[in-house]
Structures are given as C-alpha cells and as structure tokens.
C-alpha cells in the first residue's frame, strides 16, 4: 500500500470539501483498503467519514426505513427495527461476508462501490430506495449505472438510504463458493403499488428483471416462475458460472425468495 494522508471529517460538508483531488471517502474500508493494498487503487488522502455522527443509525416511519450511510452490516442484521419492518434486509445484511466484514463494512460503502456481486444494491432496487446524498436525493433506479459505477459525483457523500417498507419481501442468495459474494442474488418485493424483482451477481450491474416482475405482478406465487423464460443474454460468464447457469439460478433463487415471502 502506498502512503496516504488520513483525515477525519466531523460533518458532511467538511467531508465533501476534503474529498478533492486524489482523495476519497473511507467508511469501513473493507473494499477500499484491499484494493489499495493490492495497488489497484492509490489515493493521496483518505477521508474518514465514520466520525460523522449523523451518518450512522436506523430510523423507521410508517412508510419507510432509513439507514445511515455508515451503519454497519452487523447493526442492520441485528436491528430490531429492521427485523420488524423489513426482515429480508436483516437477512441480507447477515449474509454479507464474515463477522469481521460485517462489523466494519457499511451500507453506504457497499452501494457507493456498486460491486456487481454485492448484495445491498439489489435491496435498493427492489425496495424502491431513495439515496440521500450531501447534494440531493437519487432514486435507486437511477443510482446504479454500471460495473462499479454510480450516479455519485466527485465529493458527493451518501448520507442515508431510505427503503420503502414492502408488504412482503425476501432475498435469496446463491453464493460464490470461493468469495461468498453473490453468483446470483434475487430480491423480491411486493410493494404497495408494484412488484419489484432485482437481480445482483448475474450481470455487470444489478438490474430489475422485467420478466419476473411482470409474472409476479399478475400472480405473486412461486409456481408462476417455472414457465418464465430468463434469457442468458447479457449475463456474466466466468470460471464460476456460465451465463446459462446464472439464468437458471435466477429462476431457482426467485422461486426460493417468493416461497419464503
């Protein structure tokens, strides 16, 4: 790892100001630091955002659940509020990495990183989330733009993620046996006005499955999934899984998710 300056910000504004030039935010460091250690990334300054008190915490209202950007995965998975309002989200958080990773990694870091195999992006899409940043609100549908790419601008800080509380929802993950990231993860949510199905791990970026959403909107039951054709086109093919296999697993996971709703 190359040397860098370590700075701590105490509020969002300061953090954004410090994040100029070759600087970046540091949250849990679970994605950033390995990349720096492997010299895949190098920065002159890391801006620690974990000292910003307002960024951590969980708030529920009747319609939505709001999670501060620096809230760790373990806080989410153990949270009573989350367990009551969106239990599938707690399940998702509990399935990320290992206890060490969950004790450090944060929701903001996860979605800012937008790893194609990460879990949280699927929750954001399926639960029609709004990402609150230091500058604006972004709907999840516009936020995830491509592999490791988001709509965030330089110096823009995620402050919290606001999820719509669904009628029912579930997340089913088929983990990569090596990394335990998602080979395929399917998040199914029956919201007040619509059914949303988000798929992670399968392509270069998390996406919503039109086919699954259409069928499940008609009939929210696992049995309809058998007859759906999921195309392998555009899906990832790598040493862990071919596109065809991923297409198949999307169906298997979708069924599993719907059944456990």
């Amino acid at each position: 790892m190359k040397n860098f300056n370590f700075k701590s910000a105490t509020n969002s504004k300061e953090a954004s100001k410090l994040a100029s030039g070759r600087a970046t935010f540091l949250a849990g460091g679970m994605s950033l630091l390995p990349a720096m250690k492997l010299r895949l990334a190098a920065y002159t300054d890391l801006i620690n955002i974990k000292k910003i008190k307002t960024l951590s915490g969980i708030k529920v209202s009747s319609k939505s659940l709001r999670i501060g950007a620096t809230t760790t995965h373990s806080l989410v998975s153990n949270s009573k509020e989350v367990g009551k309002s969106i239990p599938s989200l707690a399940v998702l958080a509990d399935g990320i990495g290992d206890p060490q990773v969950r004790n450090r990694g944060t929701i903001g870091g996860s979605i800012a990183n937008n790893d194609p195999a990460a879990d949280y992006p699927s929750a954001c899409l399926a639960l029609n989330a709004t990402i609150h940043t230091s500058k604006r609100k972004i709907s999840a549908d516009k936020f995830f733009k491509g592999m490791f790419e988001t709509d965030l601008k330089k110096g823009e800080l995620i402050e919290s993620v606001e999820f719509e509380i669904p009628e029912k929802s579930a997340y089913a993950k088929y983990p990569n046996p090596a990394s335990r990231y998602a080979v395929v993860g399917v998040y199914v949510a029956k919201l007040k006005n619509e059914v949303r199905v988000a798929v992670t791990g399968a392509a270069s970026c998390v996406f919503r499955s039109k086919e699954l959403e259409a069928s499940l909107s008609n009939n929210f039951s696992a049995s309809v999934i058998d007859s759906i054709n999921i195309s392998a086109k555009g899906l990832n093919s790598d040493i862990h899984a071919s596109a065809e296999y991923r297409a198949h697993i999307i169906k298997v996971m979708a069924k599993k998710a719907v059944s456990s709703c």
Partner: protein, 790 residues
C-alpha cells in the same frame, strides 16, 4: 509411569501457537535488515529483450537491484530436479535450466525476473514498479492435453516431453485385458491444486562478513537438504559456512519441501550487500509461485472376470509438471504414483505409462499425498465402475479382490509387509451404518435431494524410504533419518531430529516416544528441529515419513542411551551390565533391590571424577557424557490403508453437492498420539474433499492464473463439512520397531474418490473434479436424471 505412547497427550507446541507466540520467519527481524520485492513475469511465456533498472535504481531507499545477469556473473547455479527418471527408450529425462532469476526468457506468470532491495518494504515495492522489462510475448502452452502437440517451449525438449516413463509389463497387461470377460474404461482428470499453506513463504538471508557465515531463515520442511542443495548446486555458500533455519512453519503440505528461487536469491543477495535481506510472500505471490499439485489426465482400463476377479490394469497418464522440473516433480508422478495404481488389490498384471510435460504454468510438485492421491483416485474410481459393471456390491467386489496374505509382493514394485483390509472395510460398514443407506436415500429424496454413496478402500506408501532402493531408481539422496538424544547433566533431555514439524506435532509425539523409552517425564523432554547448526543432518518431513523413519531413529538413539546407561549402572551397582534391567526409568540389578534412576546415571556420566564421597561412576573405557546419535535407514516403505465411505446430497435445482456423512476407518499401524492422528485425518479430509468438490487451479488460454486469490480459488471452509466419523484398525508395520505406518496424507488420498464415487452414484453419470454445482447441474440435465419428488 503411565504409558505416553497411545494416549492423547496435549500438544506441547500449542501453547505458543494459540497465544500468538510462535516464531515464524516473518517474525524474525534483524539489525540493519533490508526488504526485498521480486519483479515477476506478468506473461506466461516471453523472451526478455531488456531489463532496464536505471529508473528503479535511483528511486528512494533502493539498496540494490539484481537480475539474472548478476547471478550468471557470480556463477550461481540453477534450481535442480532431484530425481532422475529414465524414459522407456532408455534415455534420461530432459529438463530445462531453471535460473533463480530469469536469464533470457520467462516461462510462467510469476516467474522471477529481478530482486529489488530497499530500506523499507514500501520503497522496494515502489521501485519494483519502475523496473522496466521489455518482453517479446510468445504463445503460451497452457493445457496439459495440448502440451505434446504444441511448439516446444525449450530448445531440445521435443513435444515438451520431460520423460515417457513405463512401469510394469505393457505387453502382458494388454494380453490379459484382451482375455478379460469385461474391460472397464475411464478417462479421468486429476485437477490442479494450489497448496495454500496458512503461512505464506518467506526467507531472510543474513550474511556475516566477519565470520563469513551465511544464515538463511526460511519456511521450509527440510532445512538440511535445502542447505545441501543450495551449497552443492547453486553455489550459494559452502555447507560449513552455511546455516539454514526453518523456525516455526505454518503448514507446508509439500509446497515447502524445496528450496525456491527466493531462498537462493535472498541468501546470495545478502552476501553481496553484506546486510540481511528479508522477503515475505504476499498471498497472491503464493498463489502464483508456490509449487502447485496434481494436474493429471489419465486413461485407465480394468480387466475383470465374470466371477468378479480383477485380472489386469492399464494406466496412461499425462502429468503436467509446469514450467520447470522442481525438486521432487519427477518422482511424484512416477515412483510415488505408478506402483500404487493397483491399490490394495491382488491384480496380477499391470502397467502404468506416464508422460510428463512442460507447460507455461507454475511448477507442479509434491502436494499432500504426492502421487498417491492420483493413484487412489483412478483405482477407486474404476473399481467402483467395475463393481457396477459386474453387478456386485461395492464392498463385496472390493473384498473379493483384496490382498489378503502378507507379506505381499505386488506385480509392480512394492512388497507390502502387513495389513488387514477386510477388517477396516467391515468396521467402516458398521461405523458408517451401510445397511441403512437406502433409508437415508429415501429420507433425502423426501427433501428433494439426490443421495449417493461412495467407497474408497485406499492404500499408500509412506515412510520414504530405503536409501539403496530409492537411489537405484533415480533419487539424488538417500532417505534415512537422524536423531540425537542428549541427556543434560540435570536429568532433562534434548532430542534433536532431522525431521521437521510444520503442523505435525513432533514436539509432542517424539517426546512421547522418548518419555516411554527412557522413563522421563514429558515436560522434561524438548524436541529440537529446524536448524542445521543444532542437530545432525536429516532429510526432513514429507511423505508421512517422520514417525516411521525419524521416530525410529529417535528410538534407536534412546536404545543406545540405555545400553550405555547399563554399563554405568553396573559399575555403580557393582554388577555386570548383562545383569542390569532397565524399566520405567530405572536401572535395576537383577535379583537385588539395588537400582539407579536414569537421572542419577546421567548426572554421574557428566561427573566422571572423584568428588568427595563419590567415586568415578564410569567404568574404564566408557566415555563421559550421555548423548547418542542414531541414523536410521528404513528397510521398506510402510503401507497405511483404510476404508472411507462418503455420502453426499445433491440439490437437483442448483447441482450443489454437500457431504452429508463421512466415515473414515484407517489402519496407520501403531498410533502414538490418537488426538494428533485424528487432527491429521481431519486436515487431510478437508483437503481431499476440497479437491473433489471445490478447489481448482485454473489458467486461461493466455496462461494467466484466473484463480489467484480467495475470491476465485475455492478454499473449503468449516461449513462445507459434516462432522467426520473416524475410527481405526491396527496392524503394526513390521518394517520399523515402532510399528508405525504414517497418517499425514491419508485423508487427502482417500477422500477424493470416496466423494466422487458418491457424487457419481447420486447423479448417475460421470462428473469430473471438482464437482462444482454447475458441472453437476449439467450432468443431471444431460443424463435426464429423474427428479426425486420433494
């Protein structure tokens, strides 16, 4: 005193390991130390046009940058292949030069190009990025099956063929196959594995210009041999001016048997700059440059009579040995493999042809089991298919063909001294509740899972090895072992062994042997190893040899101590040596109540003069001191064997396979410490199941290692395993006085075929290792296996 041998004595070494006080190579820091970073080839195969170090040399903190040209100037030799294999046509194997730093070409991703030495590690890494190497990239030879049809990587090595080895009589085997009632054929892949010792490799060269002594601290399984090789072949330093220390080592599994390029280079570099040079591998360097394991493609044919008797076995293997022939790379797929392809069966005729090929991949060498897992896999796979073909129960078919008279001279090489194969098979059937398997299958089906069962009745050859035998078939050294048992004047004992412990628990096991033999409390015995300046020359630890060979040397040294003790005791007790009996730490004069403890004798041996009342205890002609050395050259290999039964559950929707039940009944001969043995079996099983279901070293077409981190290389984890059910049977080895056979590799040898036979039983068609979910899913699709109703 209670017997130590046979009891679950807690490991003496665990306190320091569990409290973080182990002393590994990376923990050693020397005054004035520098840090090294190796520039490695990013290409699988390329010519080196030029290495430009100008910019890097002037980077901050850089002390020295050395390349292959500097090595050549100093006449530092290349790394060697330690075992000469002769091809069927009588010609010696062909091996390319293997300079520790590349000279004109690089031949795998990770190949060593230059060493950058700086004041800090960060400076070394920064400067390494500035070393500008101009490469002319060439087409890489990657796949095992393509190697012989590709361009020669090295001039003079046609078809990339290292050797074409044959064991057994091919003509007679073909004839017997043609007469068989049934011939079963299989094509098998033994997947490439990356060893992944918990501690990455590390080495520190420390040259002392005043004494002209060179010390190399290194993560190694046999420091003496490393010193010998680096002295004799690499000309790093003469042996008497060279000390190799392998302190605590965090796992080896074979990958740390050999001196590596980094060892030679840091030792030599330290001499040049007259400062210590430290290198510690990062995990990604371990993936790229530790020797890998396995990587065979095999065709096998088994002849069977209608009555179920096996009549002949023919094996044809292509073994990928990577870019260079590493130290034991040539013996692993030949003498450690071929003699065991017939397993523990009484097959009258067999042949095994092995073609070893070079490819542009990391060198492949011994990895836990070394040749024996490959042999066990093919024989246990084809025997399973044979039983199906002939319509016999798996257990019955095996029993019918077991060797059942000992000693048994098999048709290939080995003379098997002892065993009782039906005993461990029967016990495994019972412990594994074989008779109720169908019930369990039905239960699984109710959950929508396909359940399968697989057998593996394996044998292996351990305790390598009789020197005269191995040297007659190409070994560059004899494989005896040494020990020194040193009584200190105050009655405690220091035991030196030429074996090396890197997880095996020698400090405990060996102390148990000494404790029982000499009647000394275990806390008063220390086992010392891993330092060429301390104990006598030894051959290190691999091939499950430490106890059978090294332990025997220790026992023999103890016997010499007792013999001398008897002389001294006789003199002190005023009797004859032949009238002295030694038991439980006491020398007793027959038919009297006169006795001396061994502690008193030791004390006396160190005080041979007159001291007050005490007269010299030493009879004339007996030297003072109480210390004995023994070298033990085994008379034969030892032959552990056992029966493992695996049951798996396959998820029909995803193809995911889970090991549902695993029973292992092993015959390791006499067991010194059952707890340590169980630990060894557990670890071996984890690796064996890992090979069968998860692990795979994969290179893409250009020769890039695509599984170079834990993101992509599936190391099995605890939740991949059920609770293993272990049990034992015992037929003591007749080839050594301890009766020990060896247990370190059994799990890794037995498990892959047990697991794969179970997977194939569940799926109903062949699947190759590792049986990943997608492969199994495809097999189910292809086969059209009927879904069991959930």
């Amino acid at each position: 005193m209670a017997n130590l041998v046979g009891s679950k004595v807690e490991r003496k070494e665990d306190k320091r390991f569990l409290t973080g006080k182990g002393q590994y190579t990376a923990d050693i820091n020397l005054v004035h130390q520098t840090y090294a970073c190796f520039v490695r080839s990013p290409h699988a195969r390329a010519k080196i046009n030029k290495i430009d170090i100008a910019k890097a040399s002037s980077a901050p903190g850089v002390v020295k940058i050395l390349t292959g040209d500097d090595l050549a100037k100093d006449k530092i030799g290349g790394l060697i292949a330690g075992w000469k294999i002769v091809s069927q046509d009588g010609k010696d194997m062909k091996v390319p030069p293997h300079p520790p730093l590349a000279k004109d070409s690089v031949n795998y991703v990770g190949d060593h190009v230059a060493i950058v030495i700086a004041e800090t590690l960060e400076q070394a890494k920064n400067a390494a990025e500035l070393v500008n190497v101009s490469y002319k990239i060439q087409k890489a030879v990657v796949k095992t099956e393509d190697a012989m049809n590709s361009d020669a990587i090295y001039e003079g090595i046609d078809r990339n063929l290292c050797f074409d080895f044959l064991l057994g009589d091919k003509g007679k085997t073909d004839e017997a196959l043609s007469k068989a009632d049934k011939v079963v054929k299989l094509d098998l892949i033994n997947n490439r594995l990356i060893p992944n010792a918990m501690e990455p490799r590390a080495s520190i060269g420390d040259y002392n210009p005043s004494s002209e002594q060179l010390t190399l601290y290194t993560t190694n399984q046999n420091p003496h041999l490393t010193r010998l090789v680096l002295s004799a072949f690499n000309a790093i330093a003469p042996e008497h001016k060279f000390r190799v220390v392998a302190p605590d080592v965090g796992g080896g599994f074979g990958s740390k048997i050999y001196p590596y390029a980094e060892d030679a280079v840091v030792a030599w570099a330290s001499k040049k700059i007259e400062r210590p040079v430290k290198w510690v591998a990062e995990r990604s360097e371990s993936f790229l440059s530790d020797c890998h394991g396995r990587d065979h493609i095999t065709h096998v044919e088994l002849g069977i009579k209608n009555d179920g008797k096996m009549t002949a076995l023919k094996v044809e293997t292509i073994a990928n040995i990577g870019a260079y022939a590493s130290l034991f790379a040539t013996v692993t797929p030949t003498y450690l493999y071929a003699p065991l392809v017939i397993g523990l069966y009484d097959i009258p005729v067999a042949s095994c042809n092995v073609k070893a090929v070079f490819t542009n991949t990391a060198p492949v060498d011994a990895y836990r089991g070394a040749g024996r897992p490959e042999a066990a896999f093919l024989i246990e796979r084809i025997v399973t298919e044979g039983a199906k073909e002939i319509g016999m129960d798996q257990a019955e078919f095996r029993k019918k063909n077991f060797i059942n008279k000992f000693p048994h001279q098999q048709c290939l090489i080995h003379n098997i001294d002892s065993g009782d194969y039906a005993a461990h098979l029967d016990k495994a059937l019972e412990v594994g509740d074989y008779k109720n398997f169908e019930n369990r299958r039905t239960q699984s089906a109710k959950k929508g899972k396909l359940r399968g069962i697989g057998f593996s009745t394996y044998i292996e050859a351990c305790g390598i090895a009789p020197s005269a035998v191995v040297m007659s078939i190409g070994a560059g050294v004899g494989l005896w072992e040494s020990a020194e048992v040193r009584f200190n004047a105050t009655g405690n004992v220091s035991v030196f062994t030429g074996a090396h412990s890197h997880g095996q628990g020698h400090e405990t096991t060996f102390a148990q042997i000494v404790g029982d033999r000499l009647g000394v409390a275990i806390e008063n015995i220390d086992v010392i190893h891993g330092d060429t300046d301390k104990g006598p020359f030894g051959m290190g630890t691999y091939g499950s040899r430490s106890l059978a060979v090294g332990g025997t040397a220790i026992a023999k040294a103890c016997d010499k101590i007792i013999e001398k003790g008897k002389k001294v005791a006789a003199h002190m007790l005023e009797g004859k040596p032949e009238d002295i009996e030694f038991k439980a730490g006491e020398f007793v004069l027959k038919n009297s109540n006169k006795k001396k403890t061994i502690g008193e004798i030791a004390f006396a041996c160190y005080l041979p003069g007159q001291y007050g009342e005490i007269k010299s205890p030493l009879p004339t002609g007996v030297e003072p001191g109480l210390k004995e050395t023994a070298f033990y050259d085994p008379v034969n290999f030892s032959f552990p064997a056992g029966t493992h039964i695996c049951e798996v559950e396959v998820d029909q929707d995803t193809g995911e396979t889970k090991v549902a039940k695993y029973t292992a009944v092993d015959d390791f001969g006499t067991i010194i410490n059952p707890m340590i043995v169980e630990g060894q079996v557990y670890g071996g099983l984890a690796q064996g199941i890992g090979q069968a279901l998860y692990e795979n070293g994969h290179y893409d077409e250009s020769g890039q290692l695509t599984t170079a981190s834990y993101m992509d290389y599936t190391m099995p984890r605890a939740d991949n395993f059920p609770q293993f059910k272990l049990d034992f049977t015992t037929t003591p080895a007749t080839s050594n006085p301890l009766g020990a056979k060896g247990c370190g590799e059994a799990g890794a040898i037995a498990a892959p075929p047990a697991v794969m036979n179970a997977v194939i039983d569940a799926v109903g068609t062949d699947v190759s290792m590792p049986a990943t979910a997608e492969k199994v899913w495809n097999a189910l699709k292809k086969k059209g296996t009927k879904k069991v109703a959930a």
